[in-house]
Subunit: 360 residues, 2 copies
Amino acid sequence: MKPLHSKTEKVLAAFACICLSAVLSFSAFAAEKTYRLTLAETWGPNFPIFGDATKNMAAMAEKMSNGRLKIRIDSSNKHKSPFGVFDMVKSGQYDMGHSASYYWKGKVPNTLFFTTMPFGMVASEQYGWFYHGDGMALMEEVYAPHNLLSFPGGNTGVQMGGWFQKEINSVDDLEGLKMRIPGFAGEVLAELGASPTNIAPGELYTALERRTIDALEWVGPGLDLRMGFHKIAPYYYTGWHEPATELQFLVNKRTWERLPEDLQEILRVAMRTAAYDMYIQNAHASAEAWEEMTAEYPDIQVKQFPDDVINALRSANTKLLANYADKDAQAKKILDSQQAYLDKIRRWTSISEEAYLQGQ
Amino acid sequence: MKPLHSKTEKVLAAFACICLSAVLSFSAFAAEKTYRLTLAETWGPNFPIFGDATKNMAAMAEKMSNGRLKIRIDSSNKHKSPFGVFDMVKSGQYDMGHSASYYWKGKVPNTLFFTTMPFGMVASEQYGWFYHGDGMALMEEVYAPHNLLSFPGGNTGVQMGGWFQKEINSVDDLEGLKMRIPGFAGEVLAELGASPTNIAPGELYTALERRTIDALEWVGPGLDLRMGFHKIAPYYYTGWHEPATELQFLVNKRTWERLPEDLQEILRVAMRTAAYDMYIQNAHASAEAWEEMTAEYPDIQVKQFPDDVINALRSANTKLLANYADKDAQAKKILDSQQAYLDKIRRWTSISEEAYLQGQ
């Protein structure tokens, strides 16, 4: 091709370039625009399972968008504020967060209900409530005034009741029991005379070993293994207080609204899949860790709380929830919705998965 | 702008157009290329739950790809070959299929093991085997020689044992029992003297009503409701034979390979999410349908097979599986992998979800 010489030719070429860029700006350039989001997670770097959920989500989003949606994950060592995630995403300092809704109950009381509740739904039931009951709509109602969207962010399944230095044979054994059990479940235990305490994770092992505390709950074998509690406490109680702990993805609403529709859908599906995936990963990791724990420490005794203890805990739980419902119409609406859904779906769970497992 | 006149100008404009299209073909046009895939499903049009999984998957893929990946779903009324899905996707007549792996056992015996097995894993366990155990790799090995990829396509959870006209109180009651129960579970029952039959879905109601058959199994309340069996059979037995029925998405390998990487990931994630979503949708639908059935027919009796019946069925199952393993090294590898995974993860399920549900 011969080089351009005349003025006319230069004008023409410029015209072609304008047309070209006009066309591109409505197709290629717009389609190729990269959105870089930041995410603050409550967990430290390389925290297993919980931290894998954010990495899995971000990797799916980036790959599905062909690199147009990039999410940078900052762990707590970076942002220094594990329990500041709500505020940092609300203010727009971060576009997204990964945490758990019940951490915000001191700030926005009704966020308590979107993680898990004592004696509440198991994972398949709670996902039913979120996606086919009123769960997502109610969660949106609670978070909207804070400029936030909240999505399920990974389920642990039934968490264990915890590691105990002594057996719990009756309600009397709870009197004065010093147990690390934070949040609402701690309030339930306190109703029965126990002394719930919160202790920094790094000090838990020593506190349990030296009997500064009599018991503690963490998660389940998958995350308990590396904490080492099985080496120093003989009893591992089955769960009652967190039957389906669902983590959360938080998204700043303005961030959400400036994403094009295809990237909104990519982000929505990536979060949803990462949440389900974490539920399966945690079941797998728990099975592996439980095998390892019991191979090394075959004397670990798995215990269920006796019926009268369970019934007393249930009564205390019911009483505390009634207090919430009495004081706040939105709390009542959420609790009523959960109870109605649980009543309906548990009848199905009982004749399907529960009956099957019992018959094995 | 003045119109183009001279020959030079025309050449120039043409040059600009060539440059323009060259640029576009490597960005906008390539990025905007639409891939139109076809999917044949085993189910009829508007089949609830199973059919929703394909629609959900296709909708997510289209939206996430901004219309670049469009999947046309043909139900059985269109392609006329519900059990020809394997062959139609293998040959490339369709790009994708939605069906169930165990339908192909007459054609490729080892496909039997990728749906669910009597006395096998429940859904959370089986997803663990697929995604963290050897499940996906083994499924790939079985399907690769047929130019097919297979992915989980939606789980029903524990299927009910079926509707019975008479109670089963002992193994003797199975002798001569005429039951609609197709596939491998039917073979297990036949070992104990029952007469498994297969009857077209449209004739099942009449057959059960007129006692041409004594019993039948379908799925669970969510899909059984509209079949009406609860109106004519008094006993609803809990499940043993299909604890985690996983449907399947089939993809022709050449179709998969010609998709760009971002669309492969979009398709992979859309299938994975649609599968999980169906598990939750089916739990929800079962709960709703069970409420409706029992409100209208409060005398339905839910029964569990007695222990000696369960033990006899388990022995027959073990014997038949041993036959498969003895005859075929790949079958043995798959069955050994499933059993080892089940043994490990059931120990976890027992102390978590099972213990929790029993304590409620």
